[in-house]
């Protein structure tokens, strides 16, 4: 599904150039659950942003589902992204002014799903995440675990092929964290590819494969059994 080759990304300020990704290559197959680990500043988030088409690489190739997209413009990337990728963030990133229902509905609005279909699909996914009873609440009225479940609902409502999760349990206590990991595992078992950045060895154990990064390069890969 994903194949990146010699990917490079630099951050420049006026005087300093920092290498975030240094000729990084990797592959992720459809249906895989991959965890990316490494110390702060190793390039995990940069990699996730590029994979999520939120950022473009300075050099190298990124093939998504057989299409080279490294040089796609913003409009094309946005189009590809909204149909194929769901995001889960450490800080949930729900819009405070929208209710649970409206937050989950948002991606469907941007992909042009009709109003009736939207209601059906949002309700379906809220049901699945067991958060239906909170549909008219605002994010700040929910616990952290509930908020993350809403965020996951939002990530999957468009039935993406790929979910990118950036430390999804980072802001949760262990029991809520486990719940979230169970949810992700379920989604993976139903066929969704998942790439997750994490600091937690415990969470990483839910994945099939761990890629360890240091200074923008892969230093080790563990296949989980």
């Amino acid at each position: 599904m994903i194949k990146i080759t010699n990917l490079e990304k630099f951050y420049r300020t006026e005087e300093v150039e920092t290498i975030a990704l240094n000729k990084l290559s990797m592959e992720v197959n459809t249906g895989e659950f991959v965890a990316i680990m490494g110390p702060s500043g190793c390039g995990k988030s940069t990699l996730l942003n590029i994979l999520g088409m939120l950022d473009d690489p300075d050099a190298g190739s990124y093939v998504f589902n057989g299409t080279e997209i490294a040089h796609f413009n913003e409009r094309k990337r946005a189009d590809l992204r909204k149909h194929n990728i769901g995001f889960v963030f450490q800080s949930f990133n729900l819009i405070d002014e929208l209710t649970v229902f409206e937050n989950v509905e948002l991606p469907l609005i941007y992909t042009g799903v009709s109003s009736a279909d939207r209601v059906k699909r949002v309700e379906e996914v809220l049901d699945k995440m067991q958060i239906m009873h909170r549909r008219n609440h605002y994010p700040q009225q929910l616990s952290g675990g509930q908020q993350q479940r809403v965020a996951i609902a939002r990530a999957v409502v468009n039935k993406p092929k790929l979910i990118l999760a950036d430390e999804p349990t980072g802001n949760l206590d262990s029991s809520n964290g486990n719940e979230v990991m169970e949810l992700l595992t379920d989604l993976n078992e139903q066929g969704t590819t998942i790439i997750m950045v994490t600091h937690s060895e415990h969470d990483a154990r839910y994945s099939h494969r761990i890629i360890r990064l240091l200074d923008g390069q892969t230093v080790m890969e563990n296949i989980m059994v």
């Binding site: 939120l54 913003e74 946005a78 992204r81 909204k82 149909h83 002014e97 409206e102 948002l106 609005i109």
Partner: protein, 791 residues
């Protein structure tokens, strides 16, 4: 999607109530002021546009080569002569004579001050709507009379009862009510309550003297006739009928045609009795509206941008979830339009509530025509322009962010952005300082004019108009009776009180080749004493010199100077009024110059003659019980003119009326400047809150490192005040330029001193500093631990 946007917009507004309030409030004030000015301008420009034959109607003016304004008054014979001599060009000629009259019926009587004597075609030419009666018939017979709706109701309770009633006009003529007209709309230069056929007066002597100033003459040209072509034929016409008179009196004039729609704005002398407007004022108001709207717009943009930064997370997320740039641009422009719509709705409400007050301020009745398109076009225009203009900067600014930055909340308003925002603040405050300078200079000029040494005594002087037959026929008795009363110092009967009417005549002066044009005053011997004038050479009129009535004149210093004499040299010179006198008079005295005209006009030559022409009685009271003295005057008045109500005014009040328009403009400008400052400060308050929030961490660190509260206050305020300082520097030279130009309107000008500009700067700085301090102080006083933790 749109529903989602509206929802988000509304919830955002609701969430940050303070900001929304500043946002909407500032804009609402801006729009309200603009709507007020719009209503005023619509009224000004809709003058006389309701006359169906308007395009063919002209007022005939007399144009003199040495006067910039024409004279709107012609005598009675013109209309018929014009019809007779230009049958192909002029279809109709209607004379309108402004007058007043005593109307009585039963035991009631009313003095009607807005009474027109007009030709029978009056209602055919002008489209004043008749509620009762037929336009061609209502003025046909000399005994007909037309009342306005309000007047009819005042007399008889309803227009139906009024029709057919018999009224007595000026205690002599029996008139029958044959028509009721709807009240004259505010946008008409003509204004009447009663119309009487002019045929009642065509046999009077004065009516048929060609040279008299008596009435307006309106003509309706043939559709195929050309006004300019017709004007070319007028010199011949004037020569034919007036040639002899012109040669005799040394006049030279021609006739011109002023289109109906231009009458309102034509430059006119103070004695034209119809309503006039000033285009300069209209332009000043348009500029003010534009400036205030600009200030409000800038506020809106600045505040929206700041708010947008707070919403960076939302923007980032929307992008992650697939929103394209144009989605976001649309969303933010839409929100800005929503805010504008709310503001417009509030403005409409405020405008309706403020209308009575606004009418009073304007001094006449304007109304908003809610059932016509312009006001809605204006509102839609405002929504589109402001919503779009003010909304587009934040829209494009925000939507250009990378989603990652936006999500991390790492949005920085870059240096160029800061520069842009500061430039906007500079523009805002430049306008504000400009308006303050304008207000100060106008107020200063007005108080200068008011405090100016007028050269005559205006305190405790009562003016009683000699405006009806009874008082006119008995004015000698009136004067004598008053002179015997204890509270009265002196009484003088004259043609014009200071600030009143001064006709211009030509004089033959001994030793001068050319005829000398001068203003004229006709007054009795008590003139100098009553007005408290000073004689600088020679003597006053005196009953000791029996010949004075027929042979003496006084002149003012300006007249002597213009004639090339010193005051002493002027004494004894022969002078003859070419219009009024058969033989020359002698100058017996020179009076010190006094301001008999408005202070906008330069001093002019004045020749004071005891010849007859009495229009007002000027009564100087002794210091003391004013109320009692007035009661005394009233008693005497009712003895000589029992049926007429007693009308009077004070000379100092009269003086204020002369400057009424200027005082109105001053008040309006002061109010609008105040609002401009207020709106600009609302914006500054927003900026201050933003700065305080943005620099929370910096303030925390500084405090931990030992900075004091005043230091921080200084730091924050200093930065915010910089654009205000730049604005002041820009506005001062501009203010100097504009106000200097405005002062050229006046013959007597207040100097533009440095303190005017210093005061404007100080006021602006003071208010700005006060605004900023509120927020800065909060930030400076906050516990550093909390501000650091928030990072």
């Amino acid at each position: 999607m749109i529903k989602n946007y509206i929802k988000i917009a509304w919830r955002n507004l609701y969430k940050s109530k303070m900001f929304s309030l500043i946002h909407v409030f500032g804009l609402t004030i801006g729009i309200t002021v603009c709507m007020m000015i719009f209503v005023y301008i619509m009224n000004e420009f809709s003058m006389d546009n309701f006359h169906k034959k308007g395009k063919q109607i002209y007022r005939v003016m007399r144009a003199f080569p040495d006067m910039k304004e024409g004279i709107p008054y012609l005598s009675g014979p013109y209309a018929l002569a014009l019809l007779n001599d230009f049958p192909g060009d002029i279809k109709r000629a209607v004379r309108v004579q402004g007058s007043q009259g005593l109307i009585s019926f039963g035991d009631q009587s009313f003095v009607e001050k807005k009474l027109y004597n007009a030709d029978a075609d009056f209602f055919n030419l002008f489209s004043f709507k008749l509620l009762k009666g037929d336009a061609s018939q209502v003025l046909k017979d000399p005994s007909n009379i037309v009342l306005s709706e309000t007047t009819a109701k005042k007399y008889f309770g309803s227009i139906d009862k009024a029709m057919g009633q018999t009224l007595t006009l000026n205690k002599q003529k029996q008139m029958k009510v044959t028509g009721i007209s709807r009240d004259v709309p505010a946008n008409s230069h003509l204004n009447f309550d009663v119309v009487v056929p002019i045929s009642n007066y065509t046999k009077e002597d004065y009516f048929n003297v060609w040279i008299n100033n008596a009435m307006y003459t309106y003509v309706q040209l043939d559709e195929h006739s050309n006004a300019a072509q017709l004007e070319k034929k007028f010199p011949q016409f004037v020569k034919k009928y007036m040639g002899e008179d012109m040669a005799k009196f040394g006049f030279k004039f021609t006739l011109t045609l002023t289109p109906l729609k231009d009458i309102y704005f034509e430059p006119s002398s103070a004695f034209d009795g119809v309503k006039h407007g000033d285009k300069t004022v209209v332009y000043i108001f348009i500029s003010i509206a534009a400036l205030i709207l600009l200030i409000a717009c800038i506020n809106f943009t600045n505040l929206s941008t700041i708010r947008a930064v707070e919403r960076s997370k939302e923007v980032g997320l929307r992008k992650v979830l697939g929103a394209l740039k144009n989605h976001l641009v649309l969303q933010f422009i839409g929100e800005s339009m929503l805010l504008t719509i709310i503001s417009c709705a509030l403005s409409v409400g405020i405008l309706m509530a403020a209308m009575p007050w606004y009418r009073e301020l304007l001094g006449y009745h304007v109304s908003v025509s809610w059932n016509s398109a312009p006001i809605y076009l204006f509102l839609i225009g405002v929504i589109l322009v402001i919503g779009f203009l003010a909304g587009s900067y934040p829209a494009f600014f925000l939507s250009a962010f990378s989603p990652i930055q936006a999500l991390k909340g790492k949005l920085r308003l870059g240096k160029s952005g800061a520069f842009f925002r500061q430039s906007l603040v500079v523009v805002q405050f430049s306008i504000t300082v400009l308006l303050i300078i304008g207000t100060i200079v106008i107020m200063k000029q007005m108080s200068f004019v008011k405090g100016k040494e007028l050269g005559y005594d205006k305190e405790q002087v009562v003016i009683v108009p000699i405006d009806n037959d009874d008082i006119y026929n008995h004015m000698g008795v009136f004067k004598k009776e008053l002179e015997n009363k204890a509270g009265v110092a002196s009484v003088s009967l004259m043609s014009g009180e200071p600030g009143g009417y001064y006709d211009r005549h030509l004089f033959d002066v001994e030793g001068q080749h050319d005829r000398f044009p001068s203003r004229t005053e006709f007054a009795d011997f008590e003139f100098v004493k009553t007005l408290g004038l000073k004689i600088v050479a020679g003597r006053d009129f005196s009953p000791q010199f029996v010949s004075d009535s027929a042979e003496a004149v006084l002149i003012n210093e300006t007249a002597a100077k213009k004639l090339g004499f010193t005051a002493q040299q002027a004494i004894g010179k022969q002078i003859k009024n070419t219009v009024r006198d058969d033989k020359p008079r002698r100058v017996v005295g020179v009076v010190k110059d006094y301001n008999f005209l408005s202070l906008k006009e330069n001093l002019d030559a004045l020749i004071i003659s005891p010849a007859m022409d009495r229009r007002v009685a000027v009564i100087k009271l002794k210091a003391g019980d004013l109320k009692n003295s007035l009661a005394t005057i009233k008693d005497v008045y009712s003895e000589v003119a029992p049926v007429y109500p007693f009308n009077y005014s004070f000379l100092d009040q009269k003086f204020d009326t002369t400057y009424k328009t200027d005082i109105r403009q001053q008040t309006m400008l002061a109010i609008f400047s105040g609002l401009a400052i207020f709106i600009a400060c609302l914006g500054l308050f927003g900026l201050a809150s933003f700065t305080a929030v943005k620099r929370t961490k910096e303030i925390g660190v500084r405090k931990v490192l030992g900075s004091s509260v005043p230091n921080i206050l200084l730091l924050l305020s200093g930065d915010l005040l910089k654009p205000v300082a730049v604005a002041t520097a820009i506005a001062i030279p501009l203010g100097y330029y504009f106000m200097n130009a405005w002062l050229q309107n006046f013959a007597y000008k207040t100097p533009l001193q440095w303190w005017v500009f210093a005061a404007a700067a100080l006021i602006t700085f003071g208010i700005a500093l006060l605004t900023i301090s509120v927020k800065s102080l909060n930030a400076a006083l906050a516990n550093p631990v909390r501000s650091l933790r928030s990072e």
